[in-house]
Symmetry: C2
Subunit: 206 residues, 2 copies
DNA sequence: AATGACGTACCGACCAGTCGGTATTGTAGG
DNA sequence: CCTACAATACCGACTGGTCGGTACGTCATT
């Protein structure tokens, strides 16, 4: 039989590419290696993807779409801004651990995307960032978060930490991923604690 | 006259390479571009560097040496663990802003170093990390930092944020670099504040 | 017969690194 | 002070190999 059902091969190519890009880097991974790892030939890959960087684009796009969707659910949920922020933070951490390879590729090879595609991805990321920032600002306005540090800075700070996870966390190491999520969320929330050591903690969903 | 004094050309090659690597990435920058930017030819570069990745190695090595030296001065200085930690944090942030290009290259192209050299760099970075962690632990033992989050996690968290600076901070943007340093340090110190909102703040060099 | 899903063969571009050579500077002997 | 020789600093042409991408053929399914 020729031809896999659905887009099975397409998915396999993406999965294989993700792993290889994370292992050796985008530019150090040849198209030949990708297709060999997927058990097909170049013809197959260029049947599904117009260019090598379309693989990158797709990896980025999927990750961002998923995280944005999840964030919007958590941000628009119930509870105080503190509770929602904490839940959203833990969630983005948890899902980041589930997609460490994608994360690795993301922050290592973003610059390899051609201008056009990079702009698209950056716009998507910006949207995500803005949504998160709005949540922080909401808490600041409500007086449950400190307001002496701009929300923008807080978000950059936190996501900086999140995005670097892939550089040090080892799934087979001693630390459980979710435990790290809790620690990180805790550091974020306490760094945000209103003025200092106020009664706000009760509002922060701890 | 042929031959520059001292290692002037060597320095120029490093400077040019740093900028190009930061702009377009290590692999997307050809040796030809580097030497052309420096106004010399390949022969010149391979006279000073055995391989392209030696440029990378040197960039990494220098940055790490400098930061380690500075950290040791701040960590071994006077004052409480809180005061020293804050000073060290602000300093590493300030110097990171002064070397944004190096930082960009560092976390984007580390994987392009051959095994051997990568191991060396990683060892140097580990040493730096350990020194910072010891300072956090000192504060935890002294009871002025919270102890419910492992010092290791705190350090990873903070340096994650620091290392991502180069992905969003723009020197010509509205934010002064040192202002960001203060914000970041503040978020770190407050995230570390002992139990919660205790009197510890007075000890933390705020 | 038309179409989608691949395989095969190949191309042009480029790239890291090499190598033989040259010009200048440093050094030691007479 | 001068000459001989060596070392340093660089040039520029060349190469072996790789890589992304393309053109076209083939075969099963509809």
């Amino acid at each position: 039989m020729t031809g896999e059902s659905g887009g099975a091969l397409r998915e396999r190519l993406l999965a294989v590419a993700t792993r290889l890009f994370a292992e050796k880097g985008f530019e150090a991974t040849s198209v030949q290696e990708i297709v060999e790892s997927a058990g097909v030939t170049k013809g197959a890959m260029y049947h599904y993807f117009a260019a090598k960087d379309d693989l990158l684009f797709e990896i980025y796009h999927r990750l961002l779409m998923m995280q944005t969707r999840r964030l919007e659910q958590f941000a628009g949920g119930e509870g105080t801004a503190g509770e929602r922020l904490r839940a959203a933070a833990v969630d983005v951490l948890d899902t980041s651990f589930l997609h460490l390879d994608e994360l690795t590729v993301f922050f290592r090879s973003m610059h390899m995307l051609p201008q056009e595609k990079r702009k698209t991805i950056r716009a998507e990321r910006r949207r995500y960032h803005e949504r998160f920032r709005a949540l922080v600002e909401e808490g600041q306005t409500a007086g449950i978060f400190r307001a002496d540090v701009p929300a923008d800075i807080v978000v950059q700070f936190f996501f900086g930490a999140v995005h670097q996870l892939s550089t040090w966390y080892r799934p087979n190491g001693p630390l459980a991923a979710h435990q790290v999520s809790e620690y990180y969320a805790s550091l974020l929330m306490d760094g945000l604690a209103s003025p200092h050591g106020s009664v706000a903690e009760a509002w922060m969903g701890r």
